[in-house]
Symmetry: C2
Subunit: 443 residues, 2 copies
């Protein structure tokens, strides 16, 4: 770590309210340890006071992207559940495949997914999965930042709430603070009220939040109303889940009443639109969420539904599909989309004052993007190019918590070949499919 | 040119009817001049009979992609008309900006767009624009394949039909046959019936097809019904346009009757879904087109609406949006999407027996794709990875008409730096905006 100086960058500056975006030049970025110390006029900093200097050569400097909802280790199975409905995706593929999962698989799957994320400039991830001690080890090794939740189902019994609460306590603040933890009951349709209530109580007791799937589809909202007389969002309110800072994954089936209800609680919404499209579902009412003042962040979900873990695709798809949904080319303008990708995602992730901006006092989670590719030329409009033209491979250098983890596309913390070899060696065992052996059933 | 041998590739094989897709190994591809001579069991070809050998090292070999509808030189203005409706896009931006266009701009804009296309594995383009002699020079230099149409509006008068017919005659078969030509009236809403009839007659006389915009939006269909008592598609039928092989760009506003009508004519549909989404419009009923037996091909449209010219984005977006439109994850399966990207596009482009497959007798328009990236790993399902994971930068080597035009991402025919410098030097003049000076008006 030490002191790092970044010169000669274009710096992305998204306004706090998301109304405007600018690209600034002429400023050096001074990093001390894991934080941005100052932005000074170019050339005024004393270079002798820095351990290293990065000349950005006109590249764009912006905050690292934050993945607000993922199951990173699921990359182990990507490509194995294609062209199916959500019912078949769960019952015929995903939940039988997860029956094959061994703890050590999580370590290697997490590392593979973290490689893909780092290579695409994703510096933080809110991950919701199993065997999370192994995921934490992978995060520690990679240098990434993560908010880890140990997924649990109501069928596992209330003892599981206490078991995952112990994980939350043990790993809170690990890896120099890069790891934070959160309680992670799976969803209202897989956890009964008592289980949700116990999860919320544990979260309150531990001073952490909750990360949960809710109203993934309109059908789930309809089914919940028929079965329980209330929407999944109302179930979360009644069981106390919304009283702690909560990441709500998806909420595609939110009703107008749900949105009004959510305004009163400290929630953020993780939006993983590629998955919704792939499964043939409605997308979420993002424009309405924003109008209600609800924070929205980008998400990749798992790679078995989403195929990829970069966040440039959900950014672009969100803007495109919200324009189409509104039948207005003016909807979801570029500044708003980039606000969601930066400050909005930081708020959903729970670190709005430390992530999502290139500003003094913020953590040094930064990426450098090469705009010299033919697909960006000529550079009439850099913010537009970030939303609509960028390819993940344009990310050249990635800094997390003050540490350079990728430089000129060379990974510095992870042995890429070893990770891929480990994952490939597990492919046959992991892809064994017996639909009678499911870890859960989707009804 | 000469004789080229490609060994050690995985070869993409999409069935003729689009029902299935396979990845074959163990075959060498023998190229003689500009055509594929044979596929032979690996190691059986006599290497001494080849001028060069490419060891693909396990990369995927597939047909080069075919862009069925573009205005490539419009890359000159990309980023200058963002977050707007189609009306404002035309009237406040595009048509005033095109007032600045000089013939030589077309040469440099075409080259910049061809760089982007070649770097993304796009080997052919059906381009519809102005000053096409200059576009043809750029195509000749780049080594690309193109079907060029000189765009014209009814307001230019019938003499323009004869002028562009002369372009069609002069450039037909140019550049060793890589250049073909086509008549290109702009659209039913910018050309009256006499102009369309004259265009169709010229096409018949010259033995070529027509490339035209039609029913870009549902609003255009509604407006045409109100104004002329028939849909834009019916206007094309009545004026004889459909009697020649015709590329119909978009047809998002096709009615069920339009689809039944089109079944009787030699038409193909170019699908540029990223543009539709960006302008906040409905997408086209692609699933219905396919059910009616109409060929569909991928398209980028121009980069002022579409931002980019690669075809991996429209491929992915088409599959995703058709699934969502059908509210069925099973809709637009991977094999069907890849059929559209290869054989379907070749049919729309008018060369179904020479492009779109890796097979003996086909032209050697081939690309090699690196699947070793973390975003493809592990390789459970290569066809899925092509549709849902690929980044344009994964294309490593591009062969067009038997000539290697990009090798290991190094362009061999175009001086990238010179082209970008030329385009940048024109930026200021080209971006001057006076909305009172439009080349046309969109009503």
């Amino acid at each position: 770590m030490g002191r790092l100086l970044i010169t000669n960058a274009r710096i992305l500056d998204v306004s706090e309210n998301g109304d405007s975006v600018a690209v600034r030049t002429g400023q050096d970025v001074l990093i001390d340890g894991n934080r941005i110390e100052a932005l000074l006029p170019e050339g005024t900093a004393d270079r002798s006071q820095f351990d290293s200097v990065i000349d950005a050569g006109g590249m764009l400097l912006m905050p690292g992207l934050i993945n607000c909802h993922a199951h990173v280790p699921m990359v182990l199975w990507r490509g194995l559940a294609e062209d199916v409905s959500i019912e078949r995706w769960f019952n015929d593929y995903m939940w039988p495949l997860e029956n094959n999962l061994q703890p050590e698989d999580v370590y290697w799957g997490m590392l593979l997914g973290l490689i893909e994320q780092i290579e695409a400039g994703v510096t933080s991830v809110a991950d919701h999965y199993f065997h999370m001690q192994l995921a934490a080890q992978a995060v520690e090794k990679s240098g990434a930042r993560a908010l880890l939740g140990y997924a649990m189902f109501g069928s596992q019994g209330l003892a599981m709430v206490e078991e995952t609460a112990r994980f939350v306590q043990e790993y809170q603040g690990a890896a120099n603070g890069r790891i934070r933890t959160i309680m992670a009951p799976h969803a209202p349709y897989t956890c009964d009220d008592d289980f949700l209530r116990a999860s919320a109580q544990a979260a309150k007791r531990l001073g952490v939040g909750i990360h949960i799937h809710v109203s993934e589809t309109t059908d789930q909202t309809v089914a919940s109303l028929a079965r329980r007389g209330m929407t999944p969002v109302q179930v979360l309110e009644r069981t106390g889940v919304l009283d702690v800072p909560t990441i709500l994954a998806h909420v595609c089936g939110a009703t107008p009443d749900d949105i009004r209800l959510l305004e009163r609680y400290p929630v953020g919404i993780a939006h993983a639109v590629k998955t919704y499209l792939k499964l043939g579902q409605d997308t979420a009412p993002v424009v309405e969420f924003l109008a209600a003042g609800l924070p929205v962040g980008l998400a990749s979900d798992g790679a078995v539904s989403n195929s990829t873990l970069n966040l440039w695709e959900p950014l672009r798809l969100m803007a495109l599909t919200q324009k189409q949904r509104a039948r207005m080319g003016e909807a979801m303008p570029i500044a708003q989309a980039l606000h969601i990708a930066t400050r909005g995602s930081a708020r959903v992730y729970g670190m709005p004052d430390e992530l999502g901006a290139v500003a003094p006092g913020y953590l040094a989670d930064l990426i450098l993007i090469d705009l010299s590719g033919a697909h960006h030329q000529p550079l009439h409009n850099i913010p537009a190019s970030l939303v609509y033209n960028l390819q993940p491979g344009d990310v050249r250098t990635v800094i997390i918590d003050g540490q350079v983890v990728m430089r000129d596309r060379q990974l510095l913390t992870i042995d890429r070949d070893e990770v891929i070899a480990q994952v490939v060696s597990r492919m046959e065992r992991l892809s064994y499919l017996d639909p009678a052996k499911r870890i859960q059933t989707y009804a």
